[in-house]
């Protein structure tokens, strides 16, 4: 935000950065080789809905679009759910081997919102992973910063920081990591995780 905007109290809504999301498929391969986590095939996009008709229309278009593309490949249709904080999650479930297609789907949701002028409402994209011990892990993409961070929830709203740091180390420079640990915010009970 520029000096003048600050002085005049004009916040420019932050536009999301979408492109870095496509680093995920190759990072998933590195992750599997390095830490034994495989994609579950499910991923989700989280955004803050805007009240009123026009946003509802856009949201419907997006889910219709995904339903269609998923239908063609014989995968599960998307699910839309609302969390306790009033944020909407669009969950896309595919086969675990289809991470490329999953990322493409998620990107379609994101660009549909951006194209309709609702880019600032995008919060994060989440892709879920599991290892052989059924430990849960998510790689979360922060739209506004264009960075990733790991999130490994344990039972009872605790997170496995050691695992998260291990995952970050295992993937290394394949992803653009969020350097500010204060922004690795938890998403408890995120749909699709």
């Amino acid at each position: 935000m520029g000096f003048l905007d600050t002085l005049l109290g004009r916040t420019k809504p932050v536009q999301p950065k979408l492109d870095d999301l496509f680093a995920l498929p190759s990072a998933a391969i590195t992750l599997e080789a390095g830490a034994g986590f495989t994609p579950t095939g499910s991923g989700s996009v989280c955004f803050r809905p805007v009240e009123g008709r026009s946003f509802a229309d856009v949201q419907k278009d997006v889910t219709d679009l995904l339903d269609m593309s998923a239908g063609q490949e014989g995968a599960l249709p998307v699910e839309v759910s609302k969390d306790d904080y009033g944020f909407t999650w669009v969950v896309d479930s595919r086969m675990s081997s289809e991470i490329d297609a999953l990322v493409t789907d998620l990107h379609a949701v994101n660009s549909a919102l951006v194209d309709n002028g609702f880019g600032p409402q995008l919060l994060c994209t989440l892709v879920a992973f599991r290892d052989a011990e059924e430990r849960r892990l998510a790689l979360i993409y922060l739209f506004k910063r264009g960075t990733f961070y790991p999130f490994a929830p344990l039972a009872g709203e605790k997170r496995d920081n050691a695992l998260e740091l291990q995952v970050k180390g295992a993937i290394g420079p394949d992803l653009k990591w969020e350097q500010d640990l204060g922004r690795w915010f938890p998403v408890w009970g995120a749909p699709g995780l």
Binding site: T11, K12, E51, F55
Partner: protein, 318 residues
């Protein structure tokens, strides 16, 4: 490809805020010019008074800016809370920070029967956001999110810094009124005994006092006006951030009702923090125009009206 945006700035509000700041600057320049003129006309005998006022006033402003978070938290009796102690509140703040791409402020809760919230701190990194426990109890999550988005907009707009700088002039003027008053009381007597009365010392203090009083009065009104515009700007940015202007409206109504129900004795205890509050704790007679020009916050009706505009803007088709 340029992304379409639905978040056009409010030109009317920007224009009014610019005009207010311009006037404030104009008063400042006129004040400085008058003082310089007075001193060159009457000699430098009063220069010391002005110098001391600027130094003391500047120290005061910088001090209050640097310790604004500590002072505000102590005055409000607030304690910082960890994510474990207040997971829901932290969850709301986390998400808004990620949406707005802002560093996360510290979060505090104050025990108070007044439902309210404030944000302070000299920079976005040092910001602290405080809500009262009765606000948490009375609002639902959407409304709470609206209030927090409003407070975070204050942080993004650097309102603490802007208002401190804006108040600087008023602080100097107030100090000069006091100094010239004492100067006349004691300085005048001393000259009489010493017998070296140059005849110019007495009028200059009187003129200085008069000028300072006028400057103080004008800048006080302008600062209050600026504060009201910045509240409207924060309402607007907050509602655009969450995309839910109606939730903020409903929070405003609930909070204002709550304030009117609480006895005045309790309210007065919170008065020094008023300028940073989400809604002012002292409500004068809301309808009269006199109370409007003196208050730090716009009237509830005005705020709701502005939020209606945001709502229409967001739901515009296409």
């Amino acid at each position: 490809m340029a992304a379409r945006t639905r978040y056009a700035p409010d030109r009317g509000l920007t224009a009014r805020m610019t005009a207010t700041m311009f006037l404030l600057g104009l008063v400042f320049v006129a004040f400085v010019a008058l003082i310089v003129g007075l001193m060159s006309h009457y000699g430098a005998s009063s220069a010391l008074i002005v110098f001391v006022a600027v130094v003391v006033g500047g120290g005061f402003a910088i001090g209050s800016l640097f310790y604004s978070d500590k002072i505000a938290l102590r005055t409000a009796g607030a304690v910082e809370v960890t994510p474990e102690q207040a997971p829901e509140l932290h969850g709301v703040v986390d998400r808004l920070c990620a949406l707005a791409d802002m560093p996360k402020p510290r979060v505090a809760i104050a025990r108070s029967p007044i439902p309210n919230a404030f944000a302070t701190g000299r920079s976005a990194d040092k910001a602290v956001l405080c809500v009262t426990d009765s606000l948490l109890a009375r609002l639902n999550k959407d409304e709470l999110e609206g209030v927090i988005a409003h407070e975070m907009s204050h942080v993004a707009h650097k309102d603490v810094q802007v208002m401190t700088i804006a108040s600087f002039l008023a602080i100097i003027a107030a100090l000069l009124i006091r100094f010239s008053f004492y100067g006349e009381l004691f300085g005048g007597g001393g000259r009489g005994r010493g017998g070296n009365n140059n005849g110019g010392a007495l009028p200059i203090l009187a003129i200085l006092m008069l000028v300072s009083i006028v400057v103080y009065a004008i800048s006080f009104l302008l600062i209050r006006m600026l504060s009201r515009y910045r509240e409207l700007a924060a309402d607007r940015s907050g509602a655009l951030l969450t995309g839910q202007p109606s939730a903020l409206k409903s929070a405003l109504i609930k909070v204002s009702e709550g304030m009117n129900r609480i006895p005045t004795r309790d309210l007065r205890a919170a008065e020094p923090l008023n300028a940073f509050f989400f809604a002012p704790a002292m409500r004068l007679n809301a309808r009269s125009s006199l109370s409007t020009i003196f208050s730090t916050h716009p009237s509830l009706e005005r705020r709701l009206e502005e939020l209606d505009k945001v709502q229409q803007q967001l739901s515009k088709a296409g």
